[in-house]
């Protein structure tokens, strides 16, 4: 616990412990994070609470008053240092603990509850945000009926690897049984003959690892502009190369400790959480056995994109691993990876329409972190958040529509929501910390539940009408329409304003998130007039909108309150506060993060 001393002045740590949030990645490097800000000159601190809150809106699941104060005390650099070295808060160990209770019945809702607990309460905010951003690029989902714990393990994989090397992460993703089920390459085999017919390898992963997970369909310059040949975009591959690449991703099946000659094709002793292994192998020590004379991995030479030749490899596990590793090296080193991934990360954290120069600056860091290392994701996300374009005062159409779940998390964090108590014995949810109650189905966005590998929305989505005419991208609008926007707003209003018990303290037995109204009631207890209403609006402006509320919106809100009879009891004061919250959280200014 010594590494967390800087945090202990925050009451939140107690809450985090109740949710098991200290179940962190034990393998992570332990670092000294002693609070230094009070003793050193901080030269890179945000000048105002509003600036700090805006940064935290980009970098976390939402600013809190405590985190705003801390960031202002220690500055951006140290804040990032701390966040980048903080161990990962994990999902699967939590679920594994829950299922120890024989009465507990695990389903995907518990995983999603845990995702919300981590997003709203975990200390490793930037890591959790990065994992979520990566989950929208390296997509897997439980929508294909994949086991809940496998999805949880995959989310942990992304959290652990969020600040590591892109190439390392791509390797872990490729060997993940979760991804292999999702993109159907588990037990993918070298071409074989069955009943006289030739069966060829599944092309699913071969295609998407290039189209979506690395460099995309066409060659691009560092600033994401198209490379052209004779005026036309240059495709990165064609279907012949897909066929070749499909041969690379053959021979993978579930790992296990007791291998037999039929392990490739069955689940006996299979470990669905561990990285897959490449067959042939008959035991952990004998990896040279070609089971029943079958070659599962296609070990012949292949020609992939840019006419790169992958040499033939030995027909054993070493050869197979070498073949896949070489192909992944080639993919990760493709020149278009940097602009392709960098642009999407900028879109997830900062703005839907970064300038070409912004993308180029990040892509340059992606290619070289300054120490000659390529694909250093920690360096990349630091560069994204500290870029001059991200930190400059926003203007024009800068910013992004808040992702639906990030709208919700920002509200909860901004209002210092109290986490509910674990569900008591008596139901299949015993021990669970309830957050979602399934509400996020009305958001069209539920972590690790994208309907397809194309994520909830695509980076190039343009909403028809005004935005399209202005040639602006707005990925999040792909899931916002006349039907979903109202459904989501309705849910957000209720969660922001209704879930509370009592006016001063959330009851200790409540098993759901609880918004405390006491700080705002106190403001209104002074008197109910335009001045105190203004104070109330300003407080919520800082907490929810990083001080960005326009003067006209402020006037509208103050007028709304003054147009009604002044509240004289705490109950009516809470009604006014709820009314105010309900308008703010569905307002266009809140919906867009600038």
């Amino acid at each position: 616990m010594h590494t967390w001393q800087w945090w202990t002045n925050c009451a939140r740590v107690a809450l985090a412990m109740t949710a098991g949030l200290l179940a962190v990645d034990a393998s992570a490097q332990s670092v000294d994070l002693i609070f230094r800000g009070k003793f050193e000159n901080v030269t890179d601190a945000p000048a105002t609470d509003a600036e700090a809150a805006r940064f935290l809106t980009q970098a976390t699941f939402g600013p809190t008053r405590a985190e705003i104060a801390r960031l202002r005390a220690i500055g951006y650099g140290q804040w990032l240092d701390q966040q980048l070295s903080m161990p990962a808060t994990l999902t699967r160990p939590w679920l594994d603990t829950l299922v120890l209770d024989p009465n507990f019945s695990l389903n995907s809702g518990h995983r999603v509850d845990r995702w919300w607990v981590q997003g709203v309460f975990a200390p490793d905010q930037l890591r959790q945000r990065m994992a979520f951003a990566l989950s929208q690029i390296l997509v897997t989902a439980d929508s294909g009926g994949i086991d809940t714990r496998m999805i949880a393990e995959y989310s942990d994989l992304l959290a652990r690897g969020a600040f590591g090397s892109y190439r390392t992460l791509l390797g872990q993703v490729t060997f993940s049984p979760t991804m292999a089920q999702w993109l159907t390459y588990v037990r993918n085999r070298a071409a074989y003959t069955s009943g006289g017919a030739t069966v060829l390898p599944d092309e699913n992963y071969a295609r998407e690892v290039m189209q979506l997970f690395s460099f995309g369909l066409v060659k691009r310059n560092l600033d994401f502009s198209l490379q052209l040949s004779g005026g036309n975009p240059i495709p990165t591959y064609d279907n012949t190369i897909i066929g070749e690449m499909a041969r690379v991703f053959t021979g993978l099946s579930y790992g296990r400790t007791n291998f037999t000659s039929t392990s490739f094709g069955n689940n006996t002793n299979a470990d669905f959480m561990a990285p897959m292994v490449c067959f042939p192998m008959i035991s952990a020590s004998n990896t040279n056995y070609s089971a029943n004379g079958v070659t599962y991995h296609d070990n012949a030479g292949k020609t992939i994109f840019d006419a790169i030749a992958l040499p033939a490899v030995s027909n054993n596990q070493t050869g197979c691993n070498q073949d896949i590793s070489t192909a992944l090296d080639r993919i990760a080193n493709h020149a278009t990876v940097a602009p392709f991934i960098s642009r999407q990360l900028i879109q997830r954290f900062v703005t839907s329409n970064p300038s070409p120069a912004f993308i180029q600056r990040i892509a340059t860091v992606f290619n070289n972190n300054g120490s000659g290392v390529r694909g250093d994701l920690a360096a990349v996300i630091r560069a994204v958040l500290m870029d001059s374009e991200a930190r400059a005062a926003p203007s024009g159409n800068f910013g992004k529509v808040r992702e639906p779940v990030l709208r919700m998390s920002a509200i909860w964090r901004g209002l210092d929501v109290i986490q509910g108590q674990p569900v008591p014995a008596g139901t299949g949810d015993v021990g669970n910390v309830t957050m979602g109650l399934g509400f996020d189905t009305s958001f069209n966005q539920r972590a690790y539940s994208s309907p397809t590998v194309f994520n909830f929305y695509e980076p190039d989505y343009q909403n028809p009408g005004t935005l399209q005419t202005a040639n602006l991208y707005a990925p999040e609008f792909q899931i916002l329409n006349e039907s979903t926007i109202t459904r989501m707003n309705d849910t957000i209003q209720n969660l922001a304003s209704n879930w509370y018990v009592g006016s001063n303290n959330c009851n200790t037995t409540v098993t759901r998130p609880c918004v405390q109204f006491a700080p705002y009631v106190t403001i209104l207890q002074q008197t109910g007039n335009a001045t105190t209403y203004g104070q109330l609006v300003d407080e919520l402006n800082l907490r929810l909108m990083y001080g960005s509320m326009s003067a006209s919106m402020r006037t509208v809100l103050v007028n709304m309150l003054t147009s009604q009879a002044a509240p004289t009891t705490d109950a009516t004061r809470i009604q006014r506060i709820q009314q105010l919250l309900r308008v703010i959280v569905v307002s266009p200014e809140f919906a867009v993060q600038q």
Binding site: T184, R187, R189, S194, G195, A197, V199, L200, P201, D202, E203, N204, R207, Q211, L217, P235, N239, G243, A246, G396, N397, F398, G399, V401, F439, T441, S442, P451, T452, E458, N463, P464, G465, T466, A474, F477, N481, E482, S483, T484, I485, T486, R487, N489, D490, T491, M553, V556, L557, N559, M560, Q579, R582, V583, S587, P588, E589, A591, V592, Q594
Partner: protein, 542 residues
């Protein structure tokens, strides 16, 4: 109109009786309901026309939907598919005996080449619906609808810029559609009606740009509000986007035979089948009299904004609040005039009767969406609509794995057949089956060759068009348009894994439908700029 109706009816009866005399009527019309449908099939609303796009997302393996059943061509099919699937993963073929026989003629009703015949996937059979009260109804599937001449099948349709053959494919001077085999790119090419990458508009949207002015405001709406001509029940899609027409997106979540259609987007009471069962009276239209202080404040925040992202968010909310309330007055209420007798859902969850247990089959979201389409069509006059283009979608067609077990492709095709069968019956119930044409699209077909337990991305495939206006009309036989390819792997029409080179462009298919909607050839050629590259601008199936 009534005279035409009588004459057509008489013609049909004549044909029907002739068929009856031939002794095959029972096999032709095994279902009483379908028989009544077919007998009544000359109805239409001359003032109304609608297209319904059924998008099969993921790339449908459509060469298992329509299969050559004659011995010679079936043999080729079976070989290409690696044999017949009998419960063990590997082969992707259907057993010859399992195919549902259909009466099929070629374009214009000409007989198929000697010895040629076709069968449909067994999931296209007629079926029994059981409603909430346990009442059973015999319902048509695509087999009966084909045999009644209500369905045209289009063979080997795909994205093309110019005609290509295996021989000319490798000619670098002939343009190919960009990003073949890629889901999102090929989807957009089907939607756009042209091969320009990232073209902004869809052909459905461009058709609507030319027709939307024929619609009027919702009857009684004040201030007058016009429902957008293009309505999606399956989220955003480029198909419906025009330069002027922006599609209105509704939710298909709702009890198709009742309940509330808006899935939480209106003031409402019954959201039983939707998440978020709240009263949403804080989202009333801004023009509503007597808004409370909160509503007034919110409405004043929904004006123009200089940040276009905020502006778009505001206008989307405003449109949602304004339209939902107005449309709700036409779609709800008691009695609810939009409800239909056609059973769209079979809710036999706990009933020990033979038939289709929908819940056990994973539901049928396509049927729910189409039920909402039908309800809007029923209220078309009140809603001010004379032209519509609807978009519905069913996902799950990306069958790289586990394609052949019953909960794979068979279930997908069952959902289509049953949803379309119900929808057609609903159109007959409303008397508008000649005014509404339903068609499928899918980004690509799949490799005939197996990858072990599924198929991979390919190119040209089979689509279908359904409606009373489909050419073939009352001929009591289905028709197939476009040439059916040689299914030999790496044969004259395909690459090594049986990726078919299309012989009909999706532009031709779209142009035929756009022409039926009333567009002239100049307009059609503008929307489909590559149309001139192909031998016919109208495939003749309408």
């Amino acid at each position: 109109m009534s005279r035409i109706r009588r004459e057509q009816r008489r013609d049909f009866l004549k044909q029907f009786c002739a068929t009856l005399a031939g002794g095959s009527a029972l096999s032709l019309f095994p279902q009483l309901q379908l028989m009544s449908s077919a007998l009544a099939s000359t109805q239409g609303d001359a003032g109304y026309k609608a297209l319904v796009c059924v998008f099969l997302s993921g790339g449908s393996d459509s060469y298992n939907w329509l299969v050559p059943s004659d011995a010679s061509r079936y043999g080729v099919y079976q070989t290409a598919r690696g044999g017949v699937y009998t419960g063990t993963n590997g082969p992707l073929g259907l057993a010859q005996a399992s195919l549902l026989s259909v009466n099929m003629a070629g374009s214009g009703g000409v007989a198929l080449p000697a010895g040629h015949s076709y069968g449909l996937h067994p999931a296209c059979a007629d079926w029994t619906s059981i409603d909430d009260n346990g009442a059973q109804s015999s319902m048509p599937g695509l087999q009966s609808l084909t045999n009644a001449g209500k369905v045209a099948w289009l063979s080997n349709v795909g994205t093309l810029v110019v005609p290509l053959t295996k021989a000319t494919y490798s000619n670098p001077s002939l343009p190919k559609p960009p990003q073949l085999y890629s889901h999102n790119d090929q989807t957009n090419l089907w939607f756009q009606g042209q091969e320009t990458p990232n073209f902004r508009y869809g052909w459905g949207g461009q058709v609507a740009d030319l027709l939307f002015s024929q619609n009027s405001p919702i009857v009684g709406s004040s201030p007058p509000l016009t429902v957008p001509m293009n309505i999606s029940f399956a989220g955003s899609n480029r198909f419906q986007i025009g330069s002027q027409v922006v599609p209105y997106q509704m939710s298909g979540c709702g009890d198709p035979n009742g309940g509330n259609p808006f899935a939480g987007s209106i003031v409402g009471t019954n959201f039983a089948n939707c998440s978020g069962s709240n009263t949403l009276d804080n989202f009333r239209a801004c023009a509503t009299a007597g808004l409370n202080a909160g509503e007034t404040a919110l409405c004043s925040l929904l004006g123009a904004n200089t940040n276009l992202l905020e502006n778009e968010h505001a206008s989307t909310m405003r449109r949602a609040m304004d339209l939902a309330g107005q449309m709700a007055t036409k779609l709800t209420g008691s009695p609810n005039g939009s409800l239909l007798n056609t059973p769209f859902r079979a809710l036999a969850d706990n009933q020990a009767v033979a038939g289709y247990n929908l819940a056990a089959d994973g539901g049928n979201s396509l049927a729910e969406q189409l039920a909402m389409v039908a309800r809007l069509i029923k209220m078309r006059t009140q809603l001010g609509q004379t032209r519509n283009i609807f978009f519905v979608s069913l996902g799950g067609f990306d069958t790289h794995a586990a394609q052949m077990p019953d909960n794979g492709q068979p279930r997908l095709l069952r959902r289509i057949s049953r949803a379309l069968g119900s929808f057609y019956q609903a159109l007959v119930e409303m008397g508008v089956e000649n005014s509404v044409t339903t068609f499928t699209m899918s980004e690509f077909a799949r490799t005939l060759n197996s990858n072990g337990d599924g198929s991979d991305h390919a190119w040209g495939g089979v689509q279908m068009v359904m409606g009373g206006a489909v050419n073939g009309g009352n001929a009591a036989t289905g028709r197939i348009y476009g040439s059916f390819p040689d299914q030999t792997l790496n044969g004259p029409d395909s690459f090594s894994r049986g990726q078919m080179i299309p012989t009909t462009a999706m532009d031709q298919m779209g142009a035929t439908l756009a022409s039926w909607m009333g567009l002239g050839s100049t307009e059609v050629n503008t929307i489909f700029p590559n149309l001139a590259n192909f031998p016919s601008a109208n495939l003749g199936f309408m």
